[in-house]
Amino acid sequence: MKKNTRLKAKLLIISLISFMLLGCGEQRKSSFDIVCDHFDALEKHPNLANMSKEERFDFVDNLVNQSLKPTDDAYETWKLLSTNTKYRYSLFKDTTIEITGKPLSCPSMERLSSTVEEKIYTQSNDLPPNVKRMKDATWD
């Protein structure tokens, strides 16, 4: 009887600790929140008004490179949206909820996103050889 009671008590303690740890885990910032923090830092930058789109991008990009690993989902999302200024915020938010299951609200990113863009080296409205419209594609 005593053994059973002790065992139950141990299980109860282990369960409580597990719940506490899970609780702590939930409060931890996701990597998507960290990217948002970098936009907060950009917004607070004393020289923000004088920074070009590219300088703003470099500022955030440097912080992302320092804080996240290339294998991180938020890192990859940030990089793939480097020139997609118009839809960056909505896609970043959508990706956050898809990956983490939790919504993201990042007012600084929403405000600044259209003014943050990777330096453009090449630009074209024509399709490259590895992309074809339906009417030009081959369907053997």
């Binding site: 990706t95 090449t122 630009q123 992309v131 074809k132 369907w139």
Partner: protein, 180 residues
Amino acid sequence: MSQFIERNFNQIQTVNGTIAAIGLEKVGQKVAGNLVTPAVWALNYAAKDITPGEIDLAIYGSSFINGPAGIIMSLLKAVIDDDIGKKVTVIREKQDPQYRNYIFPVQNYSLSAPFIAAQNIARDGGTAWKDPNGQWVFITDSRGVLVPDYEPKDAIDIMKPIYPFSEKNGKFDFCRRTCR
């Protein structure tokens, strides 16, 4: 090891609902991408004439898998591949016959989570979409070229480049679902 897998191979390949049971519904997230060993490739090749995919080779190259964990992972990989294959077959059957052979799971395109892989495809100039069965797929033409303006049938989510097309640094501007 290979005998164990071989004995269970048919069962593993045909078990329905196993993915959900083991909590890996979000196939393509990095954990799922790591599920492979050469033993399974060999069996797949012997049984179905399937050669290792890009994902398999990338993981093998990273020497991620070894020992008993590798056995479990490889079994899961087989189940997952089978689950994806079934879903993609359903999606193909909804599209016009001439396009069916050129529709592939986004897991074939990148190691990323499917939602991110779909964005990678749109950024590179292709159309990716999600079927009501939860699987993200994309289309190429018969020469493997990405297509930016395919209109999928029965899609609940779409990623594609914005028209008129704008490519910067090799990346297309793209958006989700209702873009024009």
